[in-house]
C-alpha cells in the first residue's frame, strides 16, 4: 500500500513546483497514520515505563538474586543455581507458612465475599438513608491497617480483652488467641473480613445496579422467586465482577502480612507465634530477608509466592467461570 503512494514521486521530479503539495500531503498522511498507530502507545507509555522500573525490574532482579547465595552483608554473591529452591522444598517452616496462608485465605475470603454479596443485595433495595449505609460499609477501609490490628489485638487480649470477657460470661475459660492455629487464624481472618467486606459489597452493588430491571420482571413473570432470581439472574450477570473480587482477594490474601505481624506483637513477631501458628509466606520472606539477611533464600520464597498467587488466581478463575452455568 505504501509503495502505491511512493511510486508517483520519481515521475514528478521534472516539475518540482507542482510537486510540493504532493509531498505535503504525503507527510500529512504519514503523520495521521503515525498518529493513529503510534500515539496510543505513547499515551500508555508512562504506565509501562513506570511498571518496567517499579514492577518488572524488581521482579526479574528478584529472580536473579534467588539464583545466588546472597547474604546482604557479604561482599560476594556466588551463583548457586537452584539451591535455594531445593532447600525450600524440604523446609518445614516454608510449608507451615504456606498452610497458614492458605488457611487464613479461606477463612478470610469465603465469608467475606458471601457477606459482601448479602450486604450488596440489601443495599440494592429501597432503604431509608441508603447513601448513609452505602458510605458506612466502606468506612473500615478508610482506617489504617495498623490501627485496626492494634484495636483487634486489644479485643483479643488474653487478660483484658472484651472477647474473652464475653466468652467468660458463658463459662468459657480465657483463650490465648495467639497460642493455637485455629484461634489465631480466626482472629486474623476476622480483621481482614472486617476491613474488606464493605469494599467488596460496594463493588457488587455497582454491578447489581447495572442489571436491567426488566430481567427481574421477566423472571418474576416466569414464576421465579427471590432466591431463584438471585441465583439465575443476579449471580450469572455478576460473574465478571465476582471474578474480579476473587482474583483481587487471592492476591491480597496470599500477601497477608501486616495483620498477623501486629497481632503477634512483641519480640520476634515475624515468626507469627511461639510455634509459628500464624506466620504467613510474606512474613517468612521478611524473616529471611531482614532478620537473617539471606536475600537469596528470601527471593526464592518470594518468587514461589508469586507463582502460587498466579496458580491460585487461575484456579479461582476457572472455578468462578463455572459459577451459574456457561456463557
Amino acid at each position: 500500500m505504501s509503495t502505491d503512494v511512493t511510486t508517483p514521486v520519481p515521475a514528478a521530479t521534472p516539475a518540482p513546483g507542482p510537486d510540493r503539495p504532493g509531498r505535503r500531503e504525503r507527510f500529512a498522511l504519514l503523520r495521521s497514520r503515525a498518529d493513529t498507530k503510534v500515539s496510543p502507545y505513547a499515551y500508555i507509555a508512562p504506565f509501562f515505563v513506570l511498571f518496567g522500573i517499579f514492577g518488572l525490574y524488581p521482579l526479574v532482579y528478584t529472580a536473579w538474586v534467588s539464583l545466588h547465595d546472597w547474604e546482604l552483608a557479604s561482599a560476594e554473591h556466588p551463583w548457586s543455581g537452584l539451591d535455594n529452591y531445593r532447600q525450600l522444598v524440604t523446609d518445614p517452616v516454608f510449608w507451615n507458612a504456606l498452610g497458614n496462608t492458605a488457611g487464613m485465605f479461606v477463612l478470610a475470603t469465603v465469608p467475606q465475599l458471601a457477606l459482601a454479596m448479602f450486604l450488596a443485595s440489601l443495599l440494592n433495595r429501597r432503604l431509608r438513608g441508603r447513601t448513609f449505609f452505602r458510605l458506612s460499609v466502606i468506612l473500615p477501609m478508610a482506617t489504617s491497617v495498623a490501627a485496626v490490628s492494634i484495636v483487634f489485638s486489644q479485643l483479643f487480649s488474653r487478660d483484658f480483652g472484651i472477647i474473652n470477657w464475653v466468652l467468660g460470661g458463658v463459662g468459657v475459660h480465657p483463650i490465648e488467641w495467639q497460642a493455637t492455629k485455629w484461634s489465631s487464624w480466626s482472629a486474623i481472618a476476622l480483621m481482614v473480613n472486617w476491613r474488606w467486606t464493605g469494599y467488596n459489597a460496594l463493588i457488587y452493588l455497582a454491578a447489581m445496579q447495572a442489571i436491567p430491571r426488566d430481567l427481574y420482571e421477566a423472571a418474576a413473570l416466569d414464576g421465579a422467586g427471590a432466591w431463584k432470581q438471585f441465583t439465575k439472574v443476579t449471580v450469572p450477570l455478576l460473574r465478571p465482577t465476582i471474578l474480579f473480587t476473587v482474583i483481587i482477594s487471592t492476591i491480597g490474601g496470599f500477601q497477608l502480612f501486616t495483620e498477623p505481624l501486629l497481632f503477634n506483637s512483641g519480640s520476634s513477631n515475624y515468626q507469627g507465634g511461639s510455634l509459628r501458628q500464624s506466620q504467613t509466606l510474606a512474613m517468612y520472606v521478611w524473616e529471611n530477608a531482614f532478620v537473617k539477611f539471606d536475600f537469596g533464600y528470601a527471593s526464592a520464597v518470594a518468587w514461589v509466592l508469586f507463582l502460587i498467587i498466579l496458580v491460585a488466581s487461575a484456579l479461582n478463575f476457572l472455578a468462578v467461570r463455572r459459577l451459574g452455568g456457561k456463557d
Partner: protein, 441 residues
Amino acid sequence: MIRASSLRRRGPAALGAGLAAVLVAATACGGGDDGSASASGGGKVALTVNVFGNFGYEQLYKQFEAAHPNITITERGTGSDLSNYTPALTKNLAAGSGAGDVVALEEGIMIQFKEQAQNFVDLGQYGGNDDRSNFLPWKFAGGQSADGTKLIGLGTDVGSMGMCYRRDLFAKAGLPTDRDAVGKLWPTWDDYVTVGEQFKAKNTGAKWFDAASNTYNTILVQTAGKDPGYTYFDKSNALVIDSNPVIKQAYDRMLGMIGDGLSAGYKSFSDQWNAGFKQGTFATIACPAWMLGYIQGQAGTANKGKWDVTTAPGGGGNWGGSWLAVPTQSKHPKEAAELVRFLTSPTGQVAAFKAVNNLPSSPAALDDPALQSFTNPYFNNAPVGQIFGTGAKQLQPVYFGPKNQVVRDAVENTLLAVQQGQLKPADAWAKAVKDAQQAAK
C-alpha cells in the same frame, strides 16, 4: 510493614496515587541532596544520630551545638525497638546511604556489625584511642574490630541488673516492701522461687513474674558471665547450645518455674506485656538499668510509687548496653567522631544516666557522686545510682555470636509455647536445640 499493606486490594486509582507518591518522593530526594550540598558549602554541618529506645541525649545535643555553632544535630529512631532498627541499619549500610552520621549499636547486634568493619570509620583516627581509660576495659575492647586494629565504636551504657517489684502486691501478699528487706529475700534464684511460691499461695490475683523469656535470659546471661563467658555461641562462633551447660541449667530452672505457675505467661515486648505493667498482673520483673525507663513509660504516672527496685538474685549480671559508631558513608566523619567522643565521655554518660537511667560504662562516671546519690522518684525514690552502680565495675562481659538474636528468639519461643500449653515441658529442650540449630544455619 506499611508497604505490604498498601499493596493489598487496590484498583487503578490506587496505582495513580502510588505513582504520584513515587514522583513526590523522587522530587523530595532531589531537594534533600541539594539542601545538604549547599549546607556543607556554607560551612554548616548537619549531623544525624540514629538510635533505638531512648539514649537521653537531648540536653547533650544542645551543649554540643552551643559549643559548635556551625553544627546542628537531629536524632532519628527515638523509641523504636531493635527489631526494626537493626534491619534498617543493615540495609542502609549495604546500600551505602541513608544511615546516620552517628549510629547506636547494641551488644546483641554488635558482633554482626563488627563483621562488616569496612562500613565504619576507625575512631582511632580521630583520637578515639585516647579515651581508652574512660571505659571499663571490656567495654572499650568490645568496640574494637575482631583483630583489635580498628576502633569501631565507643561505649555508652552497660545493662547492670536489678529486680523491680510492685510494693502494693508485696504488701497484699504479706511480704516486706522495704527494698533492702526485699533484696535479702532472694540472695539466690532458689530463694526467688521459694518466695514466689509463698506469694502465689496468697492468691493476690497477680503472678510472680512477667515472662519466661526475660527471666530465663537474665539467669542465663548472669551465670554465663561467670563461666564460660559466652552463651549460645563460643568465641569461635560455633553453636554450643547442647554443650554449654549453663544454657540447659537456666532452661530447666525456667521450666520448673513455669510448672510452678509463677509466670504470667506473656511474650516480652508484646501489647499484653505492656498492659500488664499498668494493670499490675505480675509482682516482679528482672530489670536491667535501661528497663526502668520502659517500666515508667508503660505503667504510667497513675502507678508512680507502686514500683520499686532492688538487687537481683544471684548477684549482678549484664543485659544490654550499646556503642556509638560512625559509618564510612558519613560526609562529616570528623565532626561525627567528635560528637561520639563527647556523648560517650564520663560527663556525657552521667547526663544520660540522669535523663533515662542508662548506666554508664565509664568508671569515672560510675564513681561520680552525682550518680551515686541519684534517686528515681518514680520508683519510690530508689537510689538507682547506687543499686545499679555498685558492682557495675565487676561486671563480666558475655560474648554473643553474630547470629545470637535469631537463636535467642528460637529458644525463647519454645519457652513461650510451654507457657501457652502448646508444647510439653519434656519435649521443649529437644525442640529448642533443633530450632536453634536451624536458626544458626
